[in-house]
Every structure is written in structure tokens, then in C-alpha cells.
């Protein structure tokens, strides 16, 4: 199964939860949302081989930062 995150592709074997897969590629589960086959899911979802998985970073765009 392929996981897409920030224009990078990661190859992970299916049968594990999204949360474990996220940790496996070195990303903090709190910092991303998981979209599987076009649907937003919770990170306990078990991923299968063949799933199309995208991680969406949740960090703000930054244009609104108004701190000095």
C-alpha cells in the first residue's frame, strides 16, 4: 500500500492501523488527517494492501500569523 504525504510516497505493508502506519513513516499522528480511498477516516482504521492513502498536514497556512 502506498501512503502519500507532502509529495512523497511511502510503501507500507497492509494490515496495520493508520496510526501505526503514520508512526512508522516518522510522522506525529496528531499532526495529520488520514484520507483512505478519498474518505476521511479516524486513525484507528485498519489499512489494507491496495488502499489509496493520503495524509493531510493540519498545520496552519501561516499567512494569519500576526505575532511579532
Amino acid at each position: 500500500m502506498q501512503i502519500m504525504f507532502r509529495d512523497k510516497k511511502y510503501e507500507i505493508k497492509g494490515g496495520i492501523s493508520a496510526r501505526d502506519a503514520i508512526k512508522k513513516i516518522g510522522v506525529d499522528p496528531e499532526a495529520v488527517l488520514v484520507v483512505v480511498n478519498g474518505k476521511l477516516v479516524t486513525d484507528d482504521a485498519v489499512l489494507k494492501d491496495g488502499d489509496d492513502v493520503k495524509l493531510v498536514a493540519v498545520v496552519s497556512g501561516g499567512q494569519l500569523c500576526i505575532a511579532d
Binding site: 492501523s17 506525529d28 499522528p29 496528531e30 499532526a31 488527517l33 484520507v35 483512505v36 474518505k39 476521511l40 477516516v41 479516524t42 486513525d43 484507528d44 482504521a45 485498519v46 489499512l47 489494507k48 488502499d51 493531510v56 498536514a57 493540519v58 498545520v59 496552519s60 497556512g61 501561516g62 499567512q63 494569519l64 500569523c65 500576526i66 505575532a67 511579532d68
Partner: protein, 332 residues
């Protein structure tokens, strides 16, 4: 694929909020999110339905979600987009404006299908104000930052000063009662952590969901999303189909705020609810007056060029940085 169930309907959940022990499907999450926003507005006495609200929009998930939510709640909310001219190496500002315009034109802010048409949801048609910094002041943010001491290395200081000024000025001049920004809980706790680690008591005293208009010329500032985690505002944007700009500002990448956000997320992973309780307990202590001795009221003066309130006599920091008196008055 296994999945967690929505607590309300038993359908597939799109979010599990560990700090609330609550998982919801897209439809019920959207309802919950809108209701929670309204509760925050009422709890912190941010504004009423009779007041006109100006939302600072950047094309990102937080600000577009905020605008969408306020319109769904029936508030008279217009938007302000500030064109910063950050288009190198990639056209970040141009793309942000495109997303913002697309949001207004798409009518995504209208009532979603499936909602009760008899509900008191408004059909208020929002205005989008666009202020292009280069067109108005002659230079883009990266250009002014290169030319001035303020912003050496990174343009963030020049950018923050300019945005605060333009937001306040436009809100005041156009008669808006309040300026709303999309700051979320992660933004707030990152700043709180920075200020706590340095014991910046003055800043701690002033950090709040509502910053009142302390004198003529200043507009009340509010943060209706201050109790939502960043992942919650992102989830709302995805559920609502809001097309927002995913990229971070190129100058924000690797900044201190993002570093603290990363640390706080590691804490949250180990201890769900840590970020929320850090913030709410801070607000409780602040409400009990813990920081009141440090909340010194500054004497404000009138800027001799633009008339806006400023902490020092003479020209305000904005007019000094932009040499406003040398600009064509017709455009400023």
C-alpha cells in the same frame, strides 16, 4: 477497513477527539463544530448577531472555516484578504487569494444540502475586501523587509506589523464592530508556551479570546476557534469541502511557533487533552486575576501621520516602516 463509529448515529466516524472522548461522522461533526463555535462566541461575549464582523481571511483552513461557520450561524460576516506579495519561490499569495475568491464565489458558505431550510440560518451575502500591499504602499512584504531593519533575515515581523495595522484600520474605517481571526487552540498554546518559558508576564496578561477595543481607533479582536484543535478545523474544512491552501507560508516553515506546536503534539500523543487543559487552566487563572498585576495599561498617543493609536509619541511603527508621509495619499 475497520472504523470507529459516530456516537450519535453509529455511522463511520471521520474524527475521534480523544480529549472529549467523542467520535463523530461528517454530518454530526459539522453540526457539533458550528454549535461549539457559537458557544465560544457567547461564553466569551465576543459579539452579537446585530454587530458586523470582519473576518481576516488568508485562504487557509482556519480562516475560511471560520468565515463559513459564522455565515452558517447567521452572523453578518465579511472577509478581509491582505495581499502580501509573497510569490517567490512559489506564488503563495496569489494562490491564497485565488482560494479565497473561489470560496466566496462558490457559495460553499451557504446552507449545506440536507440541513433544515426552515432553520434560522442566514442568507447574508458576504463582501470580500482585498487590500494589496504593493498596490497600496508601493512594495510587497518581502521587498519592505529587505529594505528595512525590521524583518532582517525573515519578513515575519514586517508582515505581522503590516497585517495588524491594515486589519485594524480597515475594520475601523468601514465601521465593523469586531475583527475575527481564525487562531485555533494549537496557535494559542504555542504562544502560551513561548511566553511561559520566558515568563513574559505582560504578554500572558494580554493573551485572551477577546482583546477589547481599549480606545477610539482600535477594533475589538476575537478568536472564536480558540478552543478547537488544529486537526479539528482541518477536519471541518475537509468535511465541508472547503478548498483551502494546504501549503504553509514559505517564511513560516521551521519557525519557533511550529517548533512548539510539534513539541505540544508529542505531549498530546502521550497525554490526550494536555493542550486543551493547558489553555483552559491558563484562562481560568487569568480570569481569577493571576496576571492582573502585569496588565499595565499603556498610554496611547495619536500617530501624527495616520491618526491611529500608538504607544510612543510621533509616528507609529507602521508609518515609520512604510514612510507613509512620502506615499501618494490617494492610494493610502
Amino acid at each position: 477497513m475497520g472504523f470507529m463509529r459516530c456516537r450519535k448515529c453509529g455511522g463511520a466516524a471521520v474524527i475521534n477527539m480523544r480529549q472529549h472522548k467523542l467520535s463523530l461522522c461528517g454530518e454530526h461533526y459539522s453540526e457539533w463544530f458550528v454549535a461549539q463555535t457559537d458557544r465560544a462566541i457567547e461564553k466569551y461575549k465576543m459579539f452579537t448577531r446585530d454587530e458586523r464582523v470582519l473576518v481576516a481571511v488568508s485562504g487557509g483552513k482556519d480562516s475560511l472555516s471560520l468565515w463559513d461557520t459564522l455565515l452558517r450561524l447567521g452572523y453578518q460576516a465579511d472577509g478581509l484578504y491582505i495581499g502580501l506579495g509573497i510569490n517567490d519561490p512559489a506564488p503563495y499569495s496569489d494562490a491564497s487569494l485565488e482560494k479565497t475568491r473561489a470560496f466566496v464565489e462558490s457559495g460553499e458558505w451557504r446552507v449545506a444540502s440536507g440541513e433544515d431550510p426552515a432553520s434560522p440560518i442566514t442568507r447574508y451575502t458576504p463582501l470580500l475586501h482585498v487590500v494589496d500591499i504593493e498596490e497600496t504602499y508601493g512594495k510587497s512584504i518581502p521587498q519592505i523587509a529587505r529594505d528595512k531593519t525590521r524583518g532582517h533575515g525573515k519578513p515575519c515581523a514586517a508582515c505581522g506589523l503590516t497585517k495588524r495595522y491594515v486589519m485594524n484600520r480597515l475594520a475601523h474605517d468601514k465601521g465593523y464592530a469586531v475583527l475575527a481571526t481564525g487562531h485555533n487552540l494549537d496557535d494559542e498554546v504555542a504562544v502560551l508556551m513561548q511566553n511561559t518559558l520566558r515568563w513574559q508576564t505582560g504578554y500572558l496578561a494580554r493573551q485572551a479570546p477577546v482583546l477589547p477595543a481599549s480606545r477610539e481607533g482600535l477594533t475589538r479582536k476575537v478568536k472564536p476557534f480558540c478552543r478547537f484543535y488544529e486537526r479539528e478545523t482541518a477536519t471541518y474544512a475537509l468535511v465541508r469541502g472547503i478548498d483551502y491552501i494546504y501549503d504553509e507560508c514559505p517564511h513560516a516553515v521551521g519557525n519557533l511557533t511550529n517548533f512548539y506546536k510539534t513539541l505540544l503534539n508529542q505531549l498530546e500523543t502521550q497525554s490526550p487533552g494536555a493542550k486543551l487543559s493547558f489553555y483552559l487552566e491558563f484562562l481560568r487563572a487569568r480570569g481569577e486575576g493571576a496576571f492582573e498585576p502585569f496588565n499595565q495599561v499603556e498610554t496611547l498617543h495619536e500617530c501624527e501621520v495616520c491618526g491611529q493609536p500608538t504607544t510612543a509619541p510621533g509616528r507609529c511603527a507602521f508609518c515609520r516602516m512604510w514612510d507613509v508621509e512620502k506615499l501618494d495619499r490617494a492610494t493610502v
